[in-house]
Symmetry: C2
Subunit: 526 residues, 2 copies
């Protein structure tokens, strides 16, 4: 049984992932206790569904951000409640996931005012509302409910999203880029994840269809490609040059994949990078656009961190803007840009809002995208409204403008400070180097683990970076994700740590991390 | 090109669907105008992605509820604005989809109060709030935000949903059934559709895996099975006996599928029925449970219309209650029950809330379900909150109780009246017979079309029922969905019409429908 389960885990993209993840999953599939069941049709288990007879793509798929380490953390959290004295820390600090509000970030007031008014439009007719809500939130809520047919904020919308909201979003994109956007190109989705799944589903016919993905990557991509039965074609970001994206590497990997009979359909670029935090230079982006055009690849641009730029010399440029500024239109480049309400300064993860802007698809393929969207009816309206708000926040002269800018600025400048403090602390650790987080919400330090630690990890059937992260968790309550969950150059080890704990917590985290690392190195130093 | 596109549309489950849908889809895929593009790698189209090189399962999938007829209706709606005098009606009436609030149904006040307070929890601290909101909505909102770690209503939750809300839902299920439910069995989802997709994805390994589905069925099931590459094994509901579900038919179809090498994994039962409106008798449900247990099938129970019962002699019994009352526990029957905030008396479609209660899976498979849920992070929090509210509405003694009961009762009794009025009107039409809507939101009349009409439809390369529905739309503005989109006994023709237009609109709809039908029959009578 163990062997047959293991047999299913083939063709993973990164040797380090294959080697260590197999063992991890393997370990987690408990053999099912045998119970006879005469009534069951050809099955020796009491359950008709077992890990041996489900979709092998589901078994194979991995999502480390909420994987084994988080399960361990949740168990530890329970234990902490039951036996507070058994641990040297009094809480679990979740640095595994970009979930700002779970770590105390406050929502943007204007956004929440508008959402509340749209949820309960009866408030709009009451005089007391004036005292409770800003004038522009009331005005905006009126605009939005008027854009919804019958003012029905509880009805399914058009499967691409409410037309008026798509117009607002398109206008926001136009303002951002200096090039117009078409509301009919916008598909509102429950966060960016379902949009990514939709594209993978559309493009993947068989395991011979490949998607070029950065390594390290955000594991939604590897998970989605696996679930849809496709092939992840890796291209490595260059850690030495601050996680640079080299066209020569893209070419090499594309040719290599093609020589193996893989039909490469698309290139995923995450900008700003997740987990790597780099912000692409415009020149680099032009080369990427040219590459996709020449090679007939769909450019899947994950731009959900577009507001999260911390390096003063860096600026976000959307791939749409870059390609249009090169004179390329719908007929020249097929481009999908993903945006989310979960990230940015707003961090409204739980609202599950987002959109994709889909350009350069033929009308018949667009119709297929629409059809798949229609099977799921529509994205949730609260998320739709929020997606329109982040692309059209308060403007100069609006009552909320100043408080909005103060909230926004406070969050972004604090994130920049936190990123720097954690980066410096990591670079002070023995054997650790950490590139700057120019953008996004993460640091992805490299840890040079002593041979003794690697052997100890092997003895525990754990990847060395997972071994380190589990030790860190047990010693400090800090949850970070092993680099093997994102992919890395074989033989190198990393972890991803968010920059999201509130500022006043950073010094304690740095102390705990530093103390742990010293002890770890003392234990395992070769 | 046309031939190769058509070649992909094989193995559809119902001959009438195969014959007519092929032509419909076929018709909609426009050949792409040839443009040379020397830079493109091995592709004669300017677009790297065409209908010829996308996932054939996407191409093949159909979802009639938002299909061709709705596209026609939307175009007609635009034309109605531009040329109001060119039509004998002044609006489009969407009876194609169960979307109550789009047709004027008002949301339940208590639910919206709670949602607004949770969206903008700062309101909870203000004195003016007392004057604007009911006391129990404020109390409930406090309870809910206190159940959310850090009161962060904008954070990703646990991937199964917020623990406290799952506890509320489990308690609601326990109260409904008289048997306890476990919060750990609840997976909150963005409406019921993603939950159905998750199960199809889990159970389908290849096209040799089959799912028993009623015919007629809600086309989410056929679409999801197609998208996941599985095989729909049909069982026919008996129209003569009010869409009865016969165990002998299940057995026959199961054996037939098995004899063809299909491994049948699950049985879908929709109760109350969609599009058919029948409510299953408890005795019948026991036989279904026994059948699934004996044959080792997962019972996928679509119970989203559990509050929509109109026949006074009928009562909803959940399959969980039925199986537990037979003495069957987790080890005896694998059962998934789907529930949604979109239906019932609340009809909160746009909020995308729902859950599945997953029982009788082995722990290792449960872990896989959790993993897939975690890749999508979590369901939207607004929908999660609403799902907890519908399973725990105001109780006797709460300030909102009486107004809540009045709103709820008003909606449900009006739906019963509308169902009856439309059913009577349909039964008065020449050649039309319509079973009672005992529950759910639809009527599914059978229309006996004259041979001349069938020939005229063939000439237009349209299914005869689609031909009728398009004629109806063009003559009256009423949008209904052809029976071929749901499946039907070959050679019979139906359409699905919701009972959702507001009561005062029903007489005009009946008049328009009756006049149209008379003219249609006069034109085509053999």
């Amino acid at each position: 049984m163990r062997k047959s389960a293991a047999d299913r885990f083939r063709h993973l993209f990164n040797r380090s992932l294959v080697t260590y993840h197999n063992q991890t999953i393997h370990h987690r599939i408990n053999p099912i206790p045998f119970r006879s069941s005469s009534s069951m049709a050809s099955n020796s288990s009491p359950f008709p569904v077992t890990a041996q007879n489900i979709n092998p793509q589901v078994l194979k798929c991995q999502y480390a951000v909420r994987g084994e380490i988080v399960t361990l953390a949740q168990n530890l959290q329970k234990d902490l409640l039951a036996n507070p004295d058994a641990h040297s820390f009094d809480e679990i600090i979740y640095c595994n996931i970009g979930n700002p509000q779970s770590l105390g970030q406050q929502p943007i007031t204007f956004f929440r005012e508008v959402l509340a008014l749209c949820d309960y439009p009866a408030l709009l007719d009451k005089s007391e509302t004036q005292g409770l809500f800003s004038a522009d939130s009331i005005e905006r809520a009126w605009q939005i409910v008027d854009q919804i047919p019958g003012r029905a904020t509880g009805a399914y919308s058009h499967s691409q999203g409410i037309q008026g909201l798509r117009e607002t979003i398109a206008a926001g994109i136009g303002e951002r880029d200096g090039f117009p956007a078409n509301p009919n190109d916008i598909f509102l989705t429950d966060g960016a994840s379902p949009a990514v799944h939709m594209m993978m589903q559309l493009l993947t016919r068989s395991e011979n269809d490949g998607i070029l993905c950065p390594i390290p990557q955000y594991p939604l991509y590897s998970a989605s490609i696996t679930l849809h039965g496709g092939h992840l074609v890796p291209y490595y970001l260059d850690e030495e040059s601050g996680w640079g994206l080299e066209i020569s590497e893209l070419k090499k990997q594309l040719e290599d994949a093609r020589s193996k009979g893989i039909s490469v359909r698309a290139l995923v670029v995450i900008n700003p990078g997740n987990p790597t935090g780099q912000v692409l230079a415009e020149e680099n982006q032009r080369d990427i656009v040219e590459f996709c055009k020449k090679e007939g690849l769909v450019l899947l641009a994950d731009e959900v961190y577009q507001e999260n730029i911390y390096a003063p010399e860096k600026k976000f440029h959307s791939f749409k803007k870059v390609s249009r500024s090169m004179g390329y239109g719908d007929d020249d480049i097929t481009l999908v840009s993903f945006q989310s309400v979960s990230k940015g300064y707003h961090g409204e993860c739980g609202k599950r809002g987002g959109y994709m802007e889909v350009t350069g698809f033929s009308p018949d393929v667009r119709e297929q995208v629409y059809k798949v969207a229609s099977v799921n009816l529509c994205a949730n309206i609260t998320g739709q409204i929020l997606a329109s708000l982040i692309m059209s926040p308060p403007k100069v002269g609006d009552e909320s403008y100043e408080s909005f800018m103060a909230e926004r600025g406070g969050i972004l400048s604090s994130l920049a400070k936190r990123a720097k403090a954690l980066e410096d602390a990591l670079n002070n650790l023995e054997g650790v180097t950490c590139n700057k987080a120019e953008g996004a919400m993460y640091l992805f330090p490299r840890i040079r683990l002593p041979e003794k630690a690697i052997k100890a990890a092997e003895a525990e059937k754990s990847a060395p970076d997972a071994f380190y992260c589990k030790r860190l968790l047990n010693a400090t309550g800090i949850v970070v994700v092993p680099g093997s969950g994102f992919g890395q150059v074989p033989g190198t080890w990393h972890f991803r740590c968010t920059i999201l704990p509130q500022e006043d917590r950073i010094p304690a985290i740095v102390t705990r991390l530093t103390e742990f690392h010293e002890k770890f190195m003392n234990e395992f130093r070769d």
